[in-house]
Subunit: 182 residues, 2 copies
Amino acid sequence: MRVLREVRVLRLGHRIRRDARVSTHCALVAYAYGASGIAFSGDEDRGLIEKVKSAVRRWGGNFEVAYEADWKSYVSGFRKNGGYVIHSTMYGINLPEAIGGLREKFEEKDLLLIVGSRKVPPEVYELADVNVAVTNLPHSEVASIATILDWLFQGRELSRRFQNAKIRIVPQEKGKRVLESV
Amino acid sequence: MRVLREVRVLRLGHRIRRDARVSTHCALVAYAYGASGIAFSGDEDRGLIEKVKSAVRRWGGNFEVAYEADWKSYVSGFRKNGGYVIHSTMYGINLPEAIGGLREKFEEKDLLLIVGSRKVPPEVYELADVNVAVTNLPHSEVASIATILDWLFQGRELSRRFQNAKIRIVPQEKGKRVLESV
């Protein structure tokens, strides 16, 4: 029987005011694209964590949101438990070249996907098992999370349905339709 | 001979202060994932437009950035010229169901991909030829642009190289390497 492996996301160096929206986007994308949780380091932001947890309670599924004061211990703990660490950076190996190796690792290991905010400490490049770029052009950590997860899960993550959802969209060609259970 | 069609992005309702970072991410993702340009409506934000243009001058390729005060005329003009309009919204048809139709349209028509900021005017749902969701869960317009373009271009957009780049990353397993021409 194939054991289901999981992907976690670690968002480094969150800054409460400045990163509020982009960090929220990172968390919701990690959630919607099939990661099993996100951890934030940097500023401890209870409001952000509560906001994401509240979305997950409404929309369903299982998704953990946590704050990790000491990201280095978190990363080494993850590796000690047999996990494989991917750092998303525009300087790394471009995803089309890297994806074969990532999928192989994902057959046998849990993955941790690290994304930075502004300036990432140089040690991250060394601590990671692999540094992966999405295009080697500057764009967005939100898009990188989306695309790396989408390529890992090969699009299947986009079609999940959560049994425990309190609110659910009924897809429409035009307009909006929402089912809500109280 | 197959004529190469293009995808343009329209970001509705940009707000100068509040949307500065997310709109920048939208533009850079549209650029990095193979769209041929982005137009903003809402607040006119010269700083944002100049910032994106300056990135394109450095990193290469051709990518148009513009402000459109009247988004309705812009959209109807695009359709009158034979283009096909996609509105990205969590309420629409989920991408795995929609992609076949989108790829067929893309064989013969240019595409316009509309993404909103906060609240999208109801007419957008009607004006669009199709409303497309990426998961029917709430997440991020940045991720939606990335994934819709990536599915349309089937991953090929991630491997483009620009001949006119002034700066270029040499992908590394560890660390950073950048080639810059003055």
